[in-house]
Amino acid sequence: MTTASVTPVGPVPGAAAEVLPARRPSFLARAARTPACAIGAALTGVVVVLALLAPVIGRYSPVQQDLLATLQGPSAAHWLGTDEFGRDVWSRLLYGGRTDLQVGFLAVLIPFAAGSLLGTLCGYFGGWIDAIVMRVADIVLAFPFYVLIIALVFFVGEGTHGIYIAFALTDWVVYARTTRGAALVAVSQDWVAAAEAGGLSRARVLLRHVLPNTVSQAIVYAMSDIVLVISAVVTLGYLGLGIQPPAPDWGAMISDGQSFVTVHPWLSIVPGIAMIITGIGLSLIGDGLTDVQRPA
């Protein structure tokens, strides 16, 4: 975006504002003002705070079993009842959210960084790097997302390490494609030519001028991607390939609850609703960012 190429004016904004034309509010500041973003941020904020506060408001350990009090309904002692091992559902929900959010966030961060860097390099330099990376991207895209993720997690090993590696190997593709497109646009702009003509090294032009512009595109995609990835982490947990028991995870909670679905449907429904709220919150933030980024 335009703001990214403006260099900061220094620590005296009051004096500078009189001389320089008024600076547009930053990309994120404008996004925060859209209603979609505000609601989304509020929902996501609540989920994140609850997950962070899990040890404080959890009341029980998420793995502590009480075989004398299994499959109980909601009560003062157990707000959301207990599961088939007598574990407190409320505590498991909070700790599960903690795990899923954390794993989902890290699983997006790696492909986000690697994909954006690769894509920007490809768009800026072109040539053989571009050709090779984009052919590899084509091959990765030929596999359905879930098939590739499941196969990779299987071959690399179940659990969080498998998840990180699987997403790092597959999810970079869309970031690379998005940022490559943005870099191609940036390269054709006058200010890149100006920066190069001004004698800046190519590495400096790439890092200081091109990259900030491509990254904002990648951030917008990341917000919808993180919904997809958290959803996939939960799905892997459901299939027994993700976060390994007894560590709490929404997917495993839904899967365990499915055996009791006729008599105790809330065991599956509660973690599912938690996932939906998280997903809606993050999607709304993404919508707000997209609205702001689209040229008016």
């Binding site: 596999f143 359905p144 879930y146 098939v147 499941i150 071959f155 679905v261 449907p265 429904i269 993050l282």
Partner: protein, 296 residues
Amino acid sequence: MLGVAVVTFLLVRLIPGDPARAVLGIHASPQQIAQLRAQLGLDKPVYQQLWSFLGGLAHGSTGTSIYYHAPVSSLIGTALPVTASLVGVSAVFCVLITIPLASLAAARQNRAADHAVRVGSLVGLAMPSFFFAIVLIIVFAVDLRWFAAGGWGTTVPDHLRALVLPGLTAAIAIAPVLIRSLRVGMLEVIDSDFVAAARAKGLRGARILLRHVARNALIPTLTLLGINIAYLIGSTVVIERVFDLNGLGSLMLNAIGQRDYPVVQGVTIVYAIAVVAVNLVTDLIVARLDPRTRLR
């Protein structure tokens, strides 16, 4: 395609761990393991294995299942129709959901119906498909008893009945993206000159919406459907597991459980072939619908 095959092969072989040991278990004698390795061709150098794998593929052979002792191609042959009909049914559902809802939202822009559709899409986007499947099972199989909770049946009407809930689940997983795109596309067309001309001719609103607006807005949505079918094919892996359908996804997940490498490898390749084929067909249909992109 060759790239896909080589990547799949390397994916399987580069993983640490010995398939022979995984099959025979930890109590197998070294002689037994060596014998099985020789039988599976694992004792040869990697490039020779790759060559015989590719040679086999060229003859339409994907190897022999370690667990079932049957050709992988015959296992895939029995599973493929189930998955293919699931994808077909859900594509039909997807069209039946997307077109009316997007038209409704576009025709009533910024009114209650539009907001309802947008909120609905948001929920659909945030919900992991296996969770929606469980909700459908609770409502339609457990409470209302309209459909079986899983299984495939023996006759063709049985099969179709068995596909209703899974097909709906898969369709809901991708419909939100399509509804969004079609809605935005229709809004753009509604503002264009030729719609004003049609209106000036005295055509009724519904006729304009279906004949003029939908047709033009459909083309980008169709391209998007092609891309999303790849995602849909992937999500059937999970959906087949929830509804206990013996398609490719169940074959793959079971093979993962049994450490049956040739089957995982074969099924992964079939999935990739399916995606490439779907993309080709989408391109051809788009070319037919849109005179501007007709192949020369």
